[in-house]
């Protein structure tokens, strides 16, 4: 059984109880939206000299094990990997396998996100190769963590928060292992070509810049130069060629399907109508939507409304899918600024269309920068597992406290001018609108609208939005009215499952402060 450090617990500005110490590092408790002011200098990797790298630019080594050895892999190092290959990724587990072969222990695995196919990490934790994971954990990994079996504490960060943590020196990456769908021997990498093409490699960018050592693993080695390059070979130490970096079928979906669920379609249509009727959908506007069933359907409804009204967007943000690509190709948006690419149409478009631009968590999301794209966007449509009466939301845990999703770009997107949570009012009898969220991931100050199949609730802080939709036919209702209706349908409020008293992970806010705690599930 895991041994967790003893730590004092404090109450943060959101009223949540959080640990002061996480994995031996002193933490700053959440102080409120926009309150925490960082100081000091950014982190930086050691200075290197070209004298130590091959003049012919050929950085190839025979395998991952030798690359890790040359990088000086030791016990307790931090190894990072990235999720642009999503559930199809093979490289992260390949790296752990190689580390185990070398015989090191107590590594921190620092993925940009983990996926169900990486449940093998549990064995590496049991064998001692991995000490703990700092990154999203779902399914079996999530259960392992919330059952208190992990030796260290999990740290859940948003995509922007991960950049911030690396840049601010909260996390020092010893070795970054980057899976590249195309690369040259110098280490330049591209994600939109090759048999394992995935689109953008933005998630690996911070690691390539800030890690002590960078290893590129590719299954499509091309002669120098790899054009275009999303990762600069000048940051790369070694290049490893392998048979396959991932399972193409699980990297991107062949086609993304719009939901056929009447309730979800209704929610999607409400969201689109809200944007139209609130006047947000106008010439030159922008929006972001992911690849969930509701988000896809929303894009499809909005596209029709844009056509009907003769309105064009300046830019849209993905996760891109064929629905965003259609928007671009029909001239209904000038640009797609893409954070990750979900289907084949998205990958093809990014490879061929200069107006389909790969972005990184730095440009899109990093809160400790001189602004970011997320706050420029007019509207964003997100999901949530729970929302409370004050519009605070949870996106990482089930109501029973088990880890369900990573934060992804969710927290960063809340900065948009109009943040919309599109959620069913209940799932399997479990109400989504609750008295208190199990885990706080998004403060209500940044959540403007909750759209359910039973009506649309606007945050009372947004009188401007309430005014904007006055007189429209939209079913605008107070959030508590929807909540009470659903509790009636479900036969009363659900019992709140008892939570353990041992912290097993923390949720960071976009500025690196600790927003909430995940507790061991009883």
């Amino acid at each position: 059984m895991a041994v967790l450090e003893k730590t004092e617990l404090v109450t943060n500005a959101a009223g949540r109880i959080v640990p002061e110490l996480v994995n031996g590092r002193q933490q700053v408790a959440y102080q409120g939206v926009g309150k925490y002011r960082p100081a000091g200098q950014k982190a930086a990797p050691p200075i290197r000299t070209a004298a130590d790298y091959p003049e012919d630019g050929d950085k190839r080594v025979p395998n991952l094990q030798s690359a890790l050895g040359k990088c000086g892999l030791r016990d307790r190092m931090v190894i990072s990997s990235h999720h642009h290959l999503r559930d199809g990724d093979r490289v992260a587990m390949m790296a752990m396998e190689a580390a185990a072969q070398i015989g090191v222990n107590d590594l921190t695995w620092f993925p940009s996100a983990s996926f169900p196919s990486q449940k093998g990490a549990i064995e590496f934790m049991q064998s001692g190769t991995i000490h703990h994971i700092e990154g999203s954990m779902n399914g079996p990994l999530g259960d392992y963590c919330t059952q208190g079996k992990m030796r260290g504490m999990g740290v859940l960060r948003s995509h922007g928060g991960r950049w911030q943590a690396i840049q601010d020196g909260e996390v020092h990456i010893d070795i970054a292992v980057i899976a590249a769908p195309t690369a040259d021997p110098f280490g330049n990498c591209d994600g939109s070509h090759g048999k394992s093409a995935c689109g953008s490699l933005g998630f690996a960018l911070a690691d390539s810049v800030y890690a002590d050592h960078v290893i590129v693993v590719t299954d499509n080695l091309v002669p120098f130069p790899c054009v275009p390059w999303q990762i600069q070979g000048n940051n790369v130490d070694y290049v490893v060629e392998v048979e396959s970096i991932g399972d193409p079928a699980r990297i991107v979906s062949g086609t993304t399907q719009i939901t056929r669920s009447p309730d979800r379609l209704r929610i999607a249509e409400f969201v689109a109508r809200f944007l139209r009727d609130a006047g947000i959908m106008r010439n030159g506007f922008s929006f972001q939507a992911g690849a969930g069933g509701i988000a896809l359907a929303f894009v499809s409804y909005l596209t029709q409304m844009m056509k009907d009204a003769g309105v064009k967007a300046r830019f849209v943000r993905g996760g891109s899918t064929k629905y965003l690509v259609e928007l671009l190709e029909e001239g209904l948006t000038d640009y797609i600024l893409d954070g990750q690419t979900f289907d084949l149409d998205g990958v093809r478009s990014m490879a061929n269309n200069p107006k389909h631009v790969a972005t990184s968590p730095f440009t899109s999301y990093n809160y400790h920068g001189k602004g970011n794209f997320a706050s420029i966007i007019d509207a964003v449509v997100l999901g949530a597992t729970e929302v409370d009466s004050n519009f605070n939301a949870n996106v990482v845990t089930h109501s029973d406290g088990r880890l369900l999703h990573g934060i992804g770009g969710w927290q960063n997107c809340l900065a948009s001018k109009c943040t919309i949570l599109a959620v069913p009012s209940f799932r399997d009898r479990i109400p989504v609108i609750v008295d208190e969220v199990t885990t706080l991931c998004g403060p209500g100050e940044w959540i403007d609208v909750v759209v359910t199949e039973r009506g649309i609730a606007i945050n009372p802080r947004r009188q401007d939005l309430l005014d904007a939709v006055k007189g429209s036919q939209l079913p605008i209702r107070p959030l508590h009215a929807i909540k009470e209706e659903v509790e009636r349908i479900c036969g009363g409020k659900p019992t709140r499952p008892e939570r353990g008293d041992r912290p097993v992970a923390v949720v960071k806010w976009v500025d690196g402060t600790v927003l909430d705690t995940i507790w061991q599930v009883v």
Binding site: R266, D400, D428, R429, I489, G491
Partner: protein
């Protein structure tokens, strides 16, 4: 295990569904025992939140049904309380217990009673054995919801579906939707009435009607049950004509009961009866549909069209619905909520029709005020039937909230 069967005979009953793909339903298995009280084994997707309530509810239902000693195995996939209650009751009945006892969920206030001539542009079919669709169906804005006990329910599930539909009529908030039930063909449909009528649905659809006698017989049974249970709300009838003979008898059927407010047609069975292929243009059923419209008009009831079955073909649906409106139908059925708005649009008067009708009515008012016998608009004289039609059109537009 033979001794169990010998001792308790048929005293095992199961009802409902569970499994990874099932949502909002529950599977209940009851094995009646001779002693030892109730043993409830519960597995539920919502165990941490509602586990206690589910147990409690099962115990209450069993108590009302007089089940004292039994092994009760519940596998719940997030079923709502009225569904759990119906499934436990169905399992008990299948085990041979509680036949004459009803366990009724709390009643939400039903929508106000429907009028004989109210808007019936769209009626959304909800399979009576699929509880996952029940609570959300009224949200989609159709004029009516049909809880279906007939074709969408497997023959082996009729008894259980009846209890689900009965409970839904009590526990689901139907908002502004008219609450319709399609019962089974007679005589099975008579058994449906026993459960359904006490919950006063607004309208009952009677399938495969071929002669007035069928309706009269059914209506008598409804009246008896209403009297037994003190139901005072009207229960309207909509016969479904689904055969050549039914179409031939359309007028006689439409006029055989005061409770009949509409006639509708079932095209799958009708085309089968004719031995022709059902097409998306409906040419093969044009005569039947026109005959039905005429009979309905003559009888002073509404003519309502069939459904358009291809959910993916929205363009085909639009063409069908517009044609249907042009033939004189006042509405049609929906098999998916996405069809509702297309249908409403097709059955609504157009802006220019409304404008013209408004002008005619204004001209009529002007003439009336001036004491003129002849109404004229511009250089044209307006006949009384034209005024009447304009009046009806505006009334209809008002009911659809197209005019203030």
């Amino acid at each position: 295990m033979t001794h169990v069967i010998e001792r308790s005979g048929t005293a095992i009953g199961e009802a409902g569904h569970s499994g990874a793909d099932v949502r909002s339903d529950v599977h209940v298995r009851i094995e009646i025992r001779d002693g030892g009280g109730l043993e409830i084994q519960l597995e539920s997707r919502v165990q941490p939140y509602y586990g206690q309530l589910i147990r409690q509810q099962a115990e209450e239902v069993l108590d009302v049904l007089g089940v004292r000693h039994a092994l009760v195995q519940i596998r719940d996939e997030g079923a709502l309380p009225f569904v759990i209650s119906a499934r436990v009751e169905a399992a008990c009945r299948r085990a041979g217990l509680g036949a004459n006892t009803r366990v009724l969920p709390e009643r939400v206030s039903p929508p106000s009673p429907s009028a004989p001539d109210q808007l019936r542009r769209s009626r959304l079919y909800v399979p009576g054995s699929e509880p996952k669709y029940f609570v959300s169906a009224p949200l989609h804005g159709s004029d009516a919801i049909i809880l279906d006990l007939e074709d969408s329910v497997h023959p082996g599930e009729k008894d259980a579906a009846r209890l689900l539909v009965r409970n839904a009529l009590r526990a689901v908030d139907f908002l502004q939707c008219e609450r319709m039930v399609r019962i089974n063909q007679l005589p099975l449909g008579l058994a449906d009435l026993d459960e359904i009528v006490p919950e006063s649905p607004d309208l009952i659809l009677i399938p495969k009607v071929e002669s007035p006698n069928q309706v009269v017989e059914l209506n008598c049974r409804i009246a008896e049950i209403k009297a037994d249970y003190g139901v005072t709300r009207s229960i309207w009838l909509m016969p479904i004509l689904e055969s050549a003979l039914g179409i031939e008898n359309a007028f006689a059927i439409a006029t055989c009961s005061e409770q009949i407010v509409a006639l509708t047609i079932g095209l799958e069975d009708y085309t089968a009866d004719l031995g022709v292929v059902k097409t998306s243009t409906g040419a093969e059923s044009l005569y039947a549909r026109q005959r039905l419209v005429n009979a309905a008009r003559a009888a002073g009831v509404q003519a309502i069209d069939s459904v358009f079955g291809d959910v993916a073909d929205m363009e085909g649906l639009r063409r069908w619905a517009e044609n249907s409106y042009a033939l004189g139908f006042e509405g049609m059925g929906c098999v998916h909520p996405a069809q509702i708005s297309v249908i409403h649009k097709a059955f609504a008067p157009t802006a220019s029709e409304i404008e013209k009708a408004t002008e005619i009515l204004k001209a009529y008012d002007d003439a009336h005020q001036k004491g003129l016998g002849v109404v004229s608009l511009g250089s044209k004289m307006i006949d009384p039937p034209v005024v009447n039609r304009a009046l009806k059109l505006i009334e209809r537009a008002r009911a659809m909230r197209l005019v203030p």
